[in-house]
Assembly symmetry: C2
Amino acid sequence: MTKQETRPLVEICFTPHDFELYAGQYEIAVVIDVLRATSAICAGIHNGVEKIIPVSTIEEAQAYKAQGYLCGAERNGQIVDGFDFGNSPFAFMEPHMTGRTIVLTTTNGTRAINIASKVPTVVIGSLLNLDCLSQWLIAQGKPTIMLCSGWKDKFNLEDTICAGALVDAMLASGRFRAEEDSTIAAKFIFRSAKQNIFAFLKASSHRRRLRKLNLNRDVDFCLTPNTRPVIPLLQQGELVKMKL
Amino acid sequence: MTKQETRPLVEICFTPHDFELYAGQYEIAVVIDVLRATSAICAGIHNGVEKIIPVSTIEEAQAYKAQGYLCGAERNGQIVDGFDFGNSPFAFMEPHMTGRTIVLTTTNGTRAINIASKVPTVVIGSLLNLDCLSQWLIAQGKPTIMLCSGWKDKFNLEDTICAGALVDAMLASGRFRAEEDSTIAAKFIFRSAKQNIFAFLKASSHRRRLRKLNLNRDVDFCLTPNTRPVIPLLQQGELVKMKL
């Protein structure tokens, strides 16, 4: 066998809906929901939030809330009635969050985390922890799958660009190979977008959705790379700060 | 409402697996399997094949064969044992095919045609009939969905580039709008690939697969645009030549 054939794979799955088609041989899964769940999680863990418990349904979040947990819930870009916060990263950066265990459910991101949890190691990716995460992934050298959260199981641009950026760095290290067309396409899309991610995403559907909700400040924050160099790690169903 | 909001949508669905997420409001579906089913169908219809009956399973094809039909079956790039041909376009261009009704089942393409058949009008797209098809679609001005056949329900590059080319022409006409991120992404990928589709697809997974099977001649034929200006139309479960 040539060197190329023995290198570990790094691949990108565009949506949770497709994940079963890609599952199997990966040792690390990176879950990405740039606008806004995984950006908020990186911001929270960087702010010293002790643990974030991702849950898929509002009912699960309500059960935690009844037990006294600080709970966030977002659906369709808005805070769900009766909850303390949604998935705005600014909520996760407030001083009273430090040291707390919080619960979060979002339209796409927390469901994707739970879908990825059959992979042995699950970490959280966003543009906020891009370089820190790609360096760690390269150092591990293990078969890696990027799971983009998408929008209601459909492909989305911002998650694909973030996944493409991680893969581009990993392939450039020479330690990985990619075989899926989805991975090759994401790398090309990232390279087209790279010079100006803001302009590139002007047309993206979710950015339009958030702009209508006056969430431009959140969008600007989530699209600015490398401001939160932490790696949230899923440990027994809870997201904690990886010790680096 | 502005002009933009009333224009019909044209969108791209990357795989049959995702089609249910996009289905609903479309009046025309374009099924694309560049390597090689929809290219072979265009070549056959252009060669005067009377009707092509697309079936999803080998069992259905065998039942037709028992009735005396000329039957093709392809799985994983190869002709299935006991069948007359696979999905090589050259088989569809032989003189004895002219005037015949034939039956075809392939790994991805014929299944995609049957999945798309809930849309009122289903037509066949490939690079071989690109300009002819985009002109017809623009003239119709109806909500249109492109269904890429992909590879075993996963995203593939060549179908996405072909769909991106059709959408690029349709949007350039000013008569359509696109909202899905998949559509925006395919348009970008097509524009990156446009100058040299052969070179761009060098890395594609299915091209590698076909090269191993010594099918470079088929690949070259399927990637050369506009050599077969016909539109195969699905009519009562059978593909026939649209009268233009």
